[in-house]
């Protein structure tokens, strides 16, 4: 077997990753730069971060996002878990069809979901608020929690359930005391995933948010349109840091679950 070292693939990977990471790195580095514009480094500072805290809009957008994504995550986990348990335990006609139907909201482009819910709220006379954003987010987050939890249930030992029933546990009691505790890890990791999707959404929220209810992603979107700003660099750095941490935690949890 001849094996010559070919530098091509390594170079390609290096170039691809460089293009991917350099813009992000530049943004992070310049969030600590004293100078407001340009690319010359004039010294380390944290003033853009402090200035950010003094922006009431940014702080409010952050709290809005926490409320919206928090409620979305909670409801999505519960509704997804229940549906997954039902799907796992019962067989019925049209199950496969229902399964693919319940998956559609995640494939449909976020923007379509946004405009259709927007018109729907209008005809139902529902005023736009944080609640209307939450409804929209739950709609595309439940399929995520549902599918994650369902796939974790496929490895669940059915004999434990039978044992519980034989020992006199009711149908609901079995679900509550036996099935639920077993899917907690999947509920947590799918919840983190749902939180990420909800937190990052712009295309749906853009249409269904009330005037004072903009989420952090929407706030960033509004700011981006006005151009490059060091405070925005700082905000982006904070968001990137927390999202990457969240992503790593999710991955780690999913890996532990598989073991």
């Amino acid at each position: 077997m001849r094996k010559r070292f070919n530098p091509g693939p390594a170079l390609f990977i290096a170039a691809a990753l460089a293009i991917l990471y350099i813009p992000i790195a530049v943004m992070v580095i310049f969030s600590f730069n004293r100078q407001e514009a340009g690319v010359s480094w004039t010294g380390f500072t944290l003033k853009w971060y402090l200035e950010l805290l003094a922006h009431p809009d940014a702080v409010r957008a952050f709290t809005n996002s926490m409320v919206v994504s928090g409620v979305t995550t909670g409801v999505s986990i519960l509704m997804g878990a229940f549906a997954a348990i039902g799907f796992h335990r019962y067989d019925f006609k049209g199950k496969a069809l229902l399964d693919s139907f319940l998956y559609v909201p995640t494939i449909v482009p976020a923007m379509l979901l946004g405009v259709s819910l927007f018109s729907f709220y209008d005809i139902c006379k529902i005023p736009l608020s944080k609640g209307t954003i939450i409804i929209a987010h739950i709609t595309f987050c439940v399929p995520i929690t549902f599918n994650t939890i369902l796939s974790s249930l496929s490895g669940f030992d059915a004999s434990i359930e039978e044992a519980a029933r034989d020992l006199g546990c009711s149908e609901l009691g079995t679900i509550w005391r036996v099935v639920l505790p077993n899917i907690v890890p999947a509920m947590v990791s799918s919840g983190l995933l749902a939180f990420t999707f909800s937190f990052e959404d712009v295309m749906t929220s853009f249409f269904v948010a009330g005037p004072g209810d903009q989420t952090l992603s929407m706030y960033i979107f509004g700011q981006i349109k006005t151009g490059v700003k060091p405070t925005l660099n700082a905000l982006s750095t904070l968001v990137i840091l927390s999202m990457v941490t969240l992503g790593i935690v999710t991955q780690a949890l999913q890996k532990r679950e598989k073991k």
Binding site: Y90, L102, L112, V115, F118, S217, F221
Partner: protein, 287 residues
């Protein structure tokens, strides 16, 4: 088993309690709104932006006007270019990753997925940062004396397409990687033993087997890129308009919802056709 029917009833009610809420939710907040927007596309509009509930095809007639057809054509073209570039980057990346050692494989996949966890908006902003008049690229070019004044990169079609390629490449890497990884190594060995050159091996074995991966990647990139109005807004600065912007404007500033709905239905129809074509193709390849 003294009470079979009550057991059955109980079972049914638990089933409804578990599956019911999610199904009801999806019908109420997904099917109804979507059905409403389809019917809205056949409604009229009065002078004040109000909706007139009477059947008309006017919106679809407006849609056929050259202005809108041009935007649609441009969107389809831009999405196509974006998809081609994404494929050209994602394919070799996925192929290299799929054939590397287990550790390198994990590192390469993590390398492309980590930025994907961060908001797409922030990645778009990062692009703005380096392409602006006093950003990294222009400072670099000016410093080298390659250009006399800053290049206008930001707020062009190029910037929009670059942003789309930048944000959507991971979407293509994942299905391709999953697909290429499954290709049986012994198949390649057999080819090599029978005297196939690396190029022939790729063209006759690897590439045909990876078509399903390419197709799913294309769907994952092409459809969202038609809708990503925020990328066109941020990197195109209002000068580069795609169909996503036009739809978004109808629902916000222009207040012509029925027309916006018709546009949305059109793009939705195109997307559905693409997905159907994909299913047909993968079925055919599956024999």
């Amino acid at each position: 088993m003294k009470n079979q029917s009550s057991f059955k009833k109980r079972r049914l009610s638990v089933m409804g309690m578990t599956i019911g809420p999610m199904t009801a939710w999806t019908v109420l907040f997904f099917v109804f709104p979507l059905a409403y927007i389809v019917s809205l596309s056949f409604c009229g509009r009065d002078a004040y932006g109000g909706i007139v509930y009477a059947f008309t095809l006017k919106n679809y007639q407006t849609l056929a006007k050259p202005v809108y057809m041009q935007v649609l054509g441009k969107t389809l073209r831009m999405s196509l270019i974006v998809t081609c570039f994404v494929t050209l980057i994602a394919y070799p990346y996925a192929a290299i990753a799929a054939r590397a050692g287990k550790r390198v494989q994990n590192a390469l996949i993590a390398g492309i997925m980590v930025p994907f966890w961060t908001n797409a908006l922030l990645r778009i902003y990062a692009i703005m940062n380096i392409t602006s008049a006093n950003g990294l690229i222009n400072t670099f070019l000016l410093g080298l004396g390659l250009v006399k004044e800053p290049l206008q990169i930001l707020y062009t079609d190029f910037a929009v397409m670059f942003g789309m390629v930048y944000t959507m490449t991971p979407l293509m890497v994942m299905p391709l990687y999953a697909n290429l990884q499954k290709i049986d190594g012994s198949l390649l060995e057999a080819g090599r033993d029978l005297g196939a050159s690396p190029a022939a091996l790729f063209l006759k074995v690897i590439f045909p087997l990876s078509i399903p991966g390419i197709v799913s990647g294309v769907i994952l990139v092409y459809i969202p890129s038609m809708f990503s109005f925020y990328i066109a807004d941020a990197l195109g600065g209002g000068k580069s308009i795609i169909i996503g912007n036009v739809i978004s404007n109808q629902f916000s500033t222009s207040k012509n919802w029925p027309f916006g709905a018709a546009l949305a239905v059109l793009v939705m129809g195109l997307s559905t056709l693409l997905i159907l074509a994909k299913n047909l193709l993968t079925k055919k390849l599956d024999y």
